[in-house]
């Protein structure tokens, strides 16, 4: 291709790619899905920032104003919410793809960036959750931050630092706001840049041994593929935002806890585990999962490079990973849909 068209988008892509990169089943385009969600989150987030006030007395009213009196305000808020959840889910699948293909091999640093980004997703959604200051967000943060206190030694200080006190109060709202709109976006920019940069430094997509070494120009096929994934993601997000309204329930009332009070949905799995055993469910299992994710590149002694789905040599590691994933999904489903008043286990039908 000619050199005069080297714009920034071209610049950050490699000039040549393996043919395999274009195979949909190699990655399912999940990285681009995440990037698209991130772009939507930045755009809608900056827009909401124009109208939101992080003050206990007015935050809830401002959200009501945004979704009723502001034209497209409800759409923008819906988009922000759906894109955040989509990022969480796509990020989980992206991690799963990288793990099940063993693509972290020889790329330990980028795997660590990925694990850090995964925690950043949780931190972002968790701090954003409180901002509407309605009953749902208030009690979810209350329950969610109490889960943190189960960690020994550091737990209560972490909670104290996050909440700006021992209770969820006006300081908490301001802290969550500061995290959500200042610290978190900065971390996103830095970590995402590092993550993408490492992909190129590591030689593009991981390729299994014996696959074709033939390379083709990235332009135009890779760009078209990425554009298509980005557009499909945008279309789905817009459709969700148009048809599924994010509810806002009554103003936060510290004197009236809902029964049952639940953490944000992605932490309900941990809440469910804690309800069985605080030490095992709240401490041991989450700690072991985090340790497993951090150490797996070192535990993995299998031969060959990554990039192959369900490689036979990695069977046991893959099984452990799938077990973790499935059990978390099951715990979240039980906690979210089967737990009713007084945390009693009841079928939802």
């Amino acid at each position: 291709m000619s050199t005069r068209k080297r714009n920034f988008l071209v610049h950050i892509h490699p000039p040549m790619i393996r043919e395999r990169t274009l195979t949909p089943t190699a990655t399912f385009g999940l990285g681009i899905v995440c990037l698209t969600c991130l772009a939507v989150l930045f755009l809608t987030g900056l827009t909401l920032l124009l109208y939101y006030v992080p003050e206990q007395a007015v935050a809830y009213d401002r959200i009501l104003h945004i979704i009723t009196t502001l034209r497209f305000g409800r759409l923008v808020r819906n988009l922000h919410f759906h894109a955040a959840n989509a990022l969480l889910i796509a990020g989980a699948f992206h991690t799963m793809r990288v793990f099940l293909t063993g693509s972290y091999k020889g790329r330990v640093l980028n795997w660590f960036y990925g694990v850090a980004l995964w925690h950043l997703i949780l931190l972002s959604i968790f701090t954003g959750y409180l901002l509407p200051w309605d009953q749902r967000s208030y009690w979810a943060i209350k329950v969610g931050s109490s889960l943190a206190a189960y960690y020994p030694v550091v737990g209560s200080s972490v909670r104290q630092f996050l909440l700006g006190g021992s209770e969820v109060g006006p300081e908490t709202l301001l802290r969550c706001f500061a995290w959500h709109v200042a610290a978190v976006p900065g971390l996103w920019l830095v970590l995402t840049s590092l993550h993408l940069w490492r992909v190129r430094k590591d030689g593009g997509l991981a390729a299994p041994d014996g696959s074709s070494e033939a390379r083709i120009p990235a332009s135009p096929l890779l760009f078209r593929a990425e554009l298509m994934v980005a557009f499909s993601t945008l279309a789905i997000l817009l459709a969700l935002a148009l048809f599924i309204d994010i509810p806002i329930v009554g103003r936060a009332d510290p004197l009236r806890p809902p029964n049952p009070a639940k953490a944000p949905w992605f932490f309900v799995g941990i809440q469910e585990m804690v309800s069985h055993s605080a030490v095992i469910g709240g401490l041991l299992v989450p700690g072991l999962i985090a340790l497993f994710l951090l150490l797996c590149p070192f535990v993995d002694r299998s031969q060959g490079s990554g990039g192959r789905w369900f490689a036979r040599q990695r069977l046991s590691l893959n099984l452990v990973f799938i077990l973790i994933g499935v059990s978390q999904v099951v715990f979240i489903i039980i906690g979210q849909f089967f737990r009713t008043t007084n945390w009693a286990l009841t079928a939802p039908w």
Partner: protein
């Protein structure tokens, strides 16, 4: 430069697609970014829980110079500022009466007798989470009715 038809159609449709998405997004976000005046909380006032307004009643809110009119099936906000010289009109049995110069208005603000020569104007209303909001930033000539059936369904929720 030699461009095949296939290439031209492909590139053309990609360009059109990108432009369409960019257009839709600029429309949405441009509208939101330039809306602070319309959004300002000074523009919208919350009058009270919607289910306070029973069918067939007129509830004055002198502090906002408006009255909420509830018919059997509809709900609306009418200005209580006389169209003659701007006095605050009173709610009376069969409409509105201005104490300053005796203008008489019907139940929907239509002029019964002068000196006012224009009917009372209306405000836009919206219902959210069981609360009624009135946009007092702009008066409109035509009644801005809100269907009250949804209000009745939400009764008792707040």
């Amino acid at each position: 430069m030699d461009v095949s038809r296939r290439d031209f159609l492909l590139k053309g449709s990609i360009t059109i697609g990108v432009a369409a998405v960019a257009g839709v997004f600029s429309w949405i976000f441009g509208s939101v970014w330039t809306a602070p005046l319309r959004f300002s909380s000074a523009g919208w006032v919350q009058v009270s829980p919607v289910d306070r307004f029973l069918p067939g009643t007129v509830t004055p809110f002198p502090e906002y110079k408006l009255a909420i009119i509830r018919t059997v099936s509809q709900i609306g906000a009418i200005s209580m500022e006389c169209t003659h010289l701007g006095c605050l009109v009173n709610v009376v049995d069969r409409g509105f009466f201005c104490p300053c110069h005796s203008s008489n208005f019907g139940p929907c603000g239509e002029v019964y007798s002068g000196p006012a020569d224009k009917p009372l104007p209306w405000y836009e209303v919206a219902e959210q989470e069981g609360r009624l909001w009135v946009y007092v930033g702009e008066k409109v000539a035509k009644p801005q009715w809100l269907d009250a059936s949804s209000v009745d369904n939400n009764r008792g929720r707040v």
